[in-house]
């Protein structure tokens, strides 16, 4: 994978001379999610990903925080919209997922994208997120080479918020050394309400706390629209399930409840103070797969200890 080196990067031809300006509100709700997936040529099953990052949100983050030729990593890519949008924007992309279902779907989306003539100089990896994947990526020379880590908060193993945050913390701690100094991390999250009390949970602040513990510094908290704003009016695209949830919350709280119209996009960067510490840490040993004992031989004490 080609990657720029050196301290001063020549500006690609046609690039903006001022550099990108990130708006605190991302106009990413012009088209519905279905329209975005259809227009992007995604596989029909892509919409089945419950924590899917909308292609428009991924596109905005990639365009605002990276330049052509940069490397984008999604350590929990799901159906792979972040990877596809990175490729379409001329960025190298690496996606990881622990579920074979999403792995197949993301591969299909990436293959379809490349078949439509997307030319990206470099390789696209969809890796199975095994325990040694981060170590393998580090030893492959990716330490300090990732320009943007772009992902979304996905439900935990039990579908709870605590499990999701714990999982996110593990991912950030594992892949934080791959981020180049000054590289950015974008984590999006949808609004979530308590299942019983129906109050709104402060998920972005908890994500910020988790990311800070992993050596990242929050720099912006942005609004990624999922609704259209025209002439001062907001046209939401709340689904029937979201409208029902809002109605339930209204009955429980006794006050009007707003329909969801945005996701929160938390922008972070590699904390310079924590970067050196993370990069100087020795890489953990790659866990060796267990070998079945040879028939007819006992286990040697020294191998068992190792």
């Amino acid at each position: 994978m080609s990657k720029r080196t050196g301290t001063q990067v020549p500006r690609p031809a046609g690039e903006r001379s001022e550099g990108p300006v990130v708006s605190s509100v991302w106009p990413t709700g012009t088209d519905s999610l279905t329209a975005q997936l259809n227009e992007g040529g995604y596989h029909d099953a892509t919409g089945a990903d419950p924590a899917l990052m909308a292609p428009a949100i991924a596109h905005y983050a990639i365009a605002a925080l990276t330049r052509p030729g940069d490397v984008v990593l999604d350590p929990d890519c799901g159906a792979g919209t972040t990877i596809v949008e990175a490729l379409r924007a001329g960025r190298h992309a690496i996606g990881l997922t622990g579920q074979r279902r999403w792995w197949r779907l993301a591969r299909a989306n990436v293959t379809a994208t490349k078949a439509r003539g997307v030319f990206v100089d470099g390789m696209v990896l969809i890796l199975d997120r095994r325990p040694g994947t981060a170590v393998a990526a580090a030893t492959a020379g990716l330490t300090g080479r990732i320009d943007l880590l772009l992902t979304t908060l996905r439900p935990g193993p039990a579908g709870d918020l605590d499990g999701a945050l714990e999982r996110l913390h593990g991912l950030l701690a594992q892949y934080r050394p791959l981020l180049r100094p000054g590289g950015h991390v974008v984590i999006t999250s949808a609004p979530q309400r308590h299942p019983v009390r129906h109050d709104l949970l402060d998920v972005p602040s908890r994500i910020a706390a988790v990311a800070t513990a992993a050596g990242l510094a929050p720099v912006a908290r942005c609004v990624a629209l999922t609704a259209t704003v025209r002439r001062g009016r907001t046209y939401t695209r709340a689904s029937l399930a979201q409208r029902r949830a809002a109605t339930r919350a209204e009955r429980a709280l006794g006050h009007p409840v707003a329909l969801p119209a945005h996701h929160t996009a938390l922008v972070l960067r590699a904390d310079p103070d924590a970067a050196d510490t993370a990069l100087n840490q020795p890489l953990p040993a790659v866990p060796a797969p267990p070998r079945p004992p040879r028939p007819g031989r006992g286990t040697r004490p020294d191998l068992a200890a190792a």
Partner: protein, 271 residues
Amino acid sequence: MLPGTALLPGWLGRTIVTLVTTYTRPGDRVLLLTPPPSPRALQHAAGNARSAEAYAGLAKAVWTVARLGRGADTATTAPAPDDPAEHTNSSRRAASESASRPRLGRLGLHPVPGPHPDSARPRHRDGDGPRGGFNLIITALDPHATDWLARTDWDALLAPRGLLAAVTHSDSRDGWLRDPHATLLNTLGSQGLRCLDHIAVLTAPVPDTPDCLTTADRMGTAVAVPDFSPRAVDATAPPLRTVHHDLVLLGRMASDATDGGALDQKETSDV
């Protein structure tokens, strides 16, 4: 700007009107609570007028609220005990307090001095109602001055089913994000208030197409050319154009579900 509200930004005036008409009914009591200007915020505002002046005209909306048929009160929160301004103006403030709204002073608040502060308050059905017990409190929170939240007796200010609407925004200093949400929710959560909604209030038009990544030329504002050398990038965040404020609604949890008739079935969205 709304008519007669020179210091009140238009977006804030519209937000207050929307809040009052959505979450209260005629006859309800509304308090416009101006946060104290902290010296730290004023110092920061030397290079960023947004922080200190964005919420300065909050109390100017008292006439607007009164015209909507709600009982409107205004007050400022008490400055920190170690604030020098508190000592120099204490006598004058105490006089003003006792003359107009002594109950607010007991709650740790100070009335906003104005030409006719009481005339904006319509008569209550049962005469001059008790202080405190507001159905809606609209306040603002500077991300650099959040100490007053813990000093305010929200339990006494809010009616049992009252709402607190806090307008705030994130800010950055030295490349670090100052996000008041966690402080706001944790502090008020310790007083039994939960977050009911988080609404983004747009203060500038948003481009229709996501391809319109704003640049310095399009905005007409000066944005420094970023240096992409690793050391420089370490110390700088991407230029951020802030075009929204956050509106956080808090209230006490209802013990039982209310009848749908109490709501006017008006559809709202969180932008």
